[in-house]
């Protein structure tokens, strides 16, 4: 795809930074809580008011000491780029040197915690294979500096991708922005919130009007059920922006803590489209993703564990557009869906109408649920295993389930309650499709990711880099 590498030295006119310090405001941003507490204590201090100078002096000493410690820590923390690693020296009593080799860096994110954002600063988070949360953190830089450093590191870590230089600093052109009022509306109409709100109203009516004391303790979890999703959605997903960058789709969201996540196209394992009851009437749905190496590996927040949100709420056209971006050539409406047989109504009196599956050359799609309809999409060449299951009741009705397993994540593709012969055939067909797809996909899959030399052990079919492989174990 790319020609011979012009050598990193030709590109990086940025001089090697020799033992740079971090941003001077770092100690303040890191210890702002401490400063606030100290300041409040100083202002409200009884000792100062009553002229008990000792207490006041003590507080000042603590404050000054804190500043001094922070400043010392900042002074002695230096980082530099060597030929093959980033080196961070820190500590003034206990010196510590951490060397992170470029080829061990999996992903690099620029994160902006709330206070840091107020000052226009950012921290660099390097995801190191097998490393913990704090292992690859470097804070703080100015935002531009962090972006620049990220580009340099990416360049070193991944090699040939020069183009990426530009992309991070400039906020890429947004494909899609989810308006806050829609987020709010969607959350208010979601099943959890409606259910909890209904319960809460009933509780209030029961206690006040009917004089029927259920106990107000029950109100607390219900209240939580109303407030928590709203908080999570509206604050967490505030200004959800989806944009296209050189290395995949990038999502950006959050009111206080801005979260950015990049979705490399070759790493999508599966998709989940959720449509709660009322959303269906309006035509809204939510799209989530399974990404290899994200779920279960990073421990920065629950969203990482759960996979990635691609779209917190969107109408049909937006969902279709997003799906087409992630999986080019996918058209859900063109996949022929097979309904579950009618005898399933003995097991699922209402839901049986909504059970269906369908497959094309690229994906398997399963649909189920009538309160909240879940559409799982699994790529054939990402299938981990296929299982056929049958319980005693299903046996009597001649039905069986087919599970298509993908790596950890929200996707859960099960063709529930199929005719057992159809299920056995599907199992077989799915295993064959997975095999075929993985054979054909191994060649062109590298188009999206960076080209890499064939691995010496001959396992060149993997489209993720060797470092990525280890992350999924």
């Amino acid at each position: 795809m790319t020609g011979p590498v012009p050598g990193p030295s030709g590109q990086t006119t940025v001089p090697e930074l020799q033992g740079e310090r971090l941003h001077p405001l770092t100690p303040f941003v890191k210890g702002w809580g401490y400063f606030v507490v100290a300041a409040v204590a100083l202002v409200n201090n009884e000792g100062l008011r009553s002229n008990l100078e000792l207490a006041g002096l003590g507080l000042i000493a603590v404050l000054v000491g804190g500043i001094l410690l922070g400043a010392l820590s900042w002074w002695y923390t230096k980082w530099q780029l060597t030929d093959e690693a980033i080196r961070v020296d820190s500590g003034f009593l206990f010196r510590r040197t951490r060397i992170i080799r470029f080829d061990r860096i999996q992903t690099i994110d620029v994160a902006q915690p709330f206070v840091a954002r107020l000052f226009g600063m950012a921290e660099l988070r390097m995801d190191v294979a097998g490393g913990g949360k704090s292992d690859g953190k470097l804070s703080y830089f100015t935002y531009d500096e962090a972006g620049k450093l990220r580009s340099i590191l990416l360049l070193r870590a991944k090699g040939e991708q020069f183009v990426e230089h530009e992309t991070y600093q400039v906020e890429p052109e947004p494909l899609l922005v989810v308006p806050t009022n829609r987020l709010l509306g969607a959350t208010l109409l979601s099943s959890t919130v409606l259910g909890s709100a209904g319960g809460l109203i009933w509780l209030i009516v029961a206690t006040t009007v009917l004089d029927f004391h259920v106990g107000l303790f029950a109100g607390l979890p219900l209240l939580l059920g109303v407030v928590q999703p709203i908080w999570k959605q509206v604050v967490g997903n505030h200004g959800f922006t989806l944009s296209k960058t050189h290395d995949g789709l990038r999502t950006k969201r959050g009111l206080f803590d801005v979260q950015r996540q990049t979705v490399p196209p070759g790493r999508v394992q599966g998709l989940l489209i959720t449509e709660p009851l009322i959303w269906r009437l309006i035509g809204w749905s939510r799209v989530e993703l399974d990404i290899a190496g994200v779920a279960g590996n990073r421990d920065e927040g629950e969203d990482d564990r759960e996979g990635a949100q691609l779209l917190p709420v969107g109408d049909r056209a937006e969902v279709a557009g997003v799906l087409a971006r992630v999986l080019p050539g996918l058209d859900l409406s063109r996949i022929e869906m097979h309904q579950a047989p009618e005898r399933v109504k003995w097991l699922r009196p209402i839901g049986w109408r909504y059970l269906a599956y369908g497959a094309d050359a690229q994906v398997l799609v399963t649909v189920r649920g009538w309160v909240s309809r879940r559409t799982s999409i699994v790529l054939h060449h990402k299938t981990q295993s296929v299982r056929l299951q049958q319980g005693p009741l299903q046996r009597r009705l001649g039905l069986a389930n087919v599970h298509v397993d993908t790596p950890l994540g929200p996707t859960d593709a099960v063709a529930v309650h199929r005719d057992q012969f159809e299920a056995a055939a599907l199992l077989q067909a799915q295993a064959d499709r997975a095999r075929e797809a993985s054979r054909t996909a191994s060649a062109p899959a590298a188009v999206h990711t960076q080209p890499k030399p064939p691995s010496p052990d001959g396992s060149s079919s993997s489209e993720a880099s060797p470092a990525d492989d280890s992350s999924a174990t």
Binding site: Q384, S385, V386, Q420, E463, A472
Partner: protein, 162 residues
């Protein structure tokens, strides 16, 4: 009819009947302890008649589970296809797992003290998802290590990546 969970185009290998023995010993210990406790507790508090009755119930429970264990053991079988490992098991809740060798992340061979005493082992194939339930209990240790080596060789040769 029955070959839904055991397609006949591959040759299926049953697992060792010793698996049933191990599980029967486990069940015997469990029901034995339960029965004895019930015998003593009921016998000391109410009357020894109830105690003996409880013991009989425990013995009956063991006989019943012993029969189930036998049936369950006979249901376990596996097959090695060119590209996939197939594991089938269960009587009441039946399951057939198909795992492509290329999806394998690692293989476990495990044997508890009781299993070792009876000379069997369990081979488990792990993929990138815990949902994959490809476990074969009741293998002869030689067969277990043969399977382990073969699976890891095949897994390496056919690695699909993620």
């Amino acid at each position: 009819m029955d070959d839904l969970f055991a397609p006949s185009d591959v040759s299926w290998t049953p697992v060792s009947p010793k698996l049933a023995s191990v599980r029967r010993v486990n069940a015997a210990i469990l029901f034995g302890v339960l029965g004895l406790v019930a015998l003593l507790v009921l016998g000391m508090t109410l009357s020894w008649v109830y105690g003996v009755l409880a013991l009989l119930v425990a013995v009956g429970g063991f006989a019943w589970s012993s029969a189930l264990i036998g049936r369950n053991q006979r249901s376990w079988k596996y097959a090695e296809r060119e590209d996939e490992l197939l594991v089938s098991h269960g009587i009441l809740f039946r399951e057939l797992v198909v795992v492509p060798y290329g999806r394998m992340q690692f293989v476990d061979v495990a044997a508890g003290p009781l299993e070792r005493a009876f000379g069997i082992a369990t081979v488990e194939l792990h993929t990138a998802t815990p949902a994959t339930d490809a476990k074969i209990p009741g293998l002869h240790p030689d067969e277990a290590s043969r399977l382990r080596d073969r699976l890891s060789a095949l897994g390496q040769a056919q690695a699909w990546g993620l």
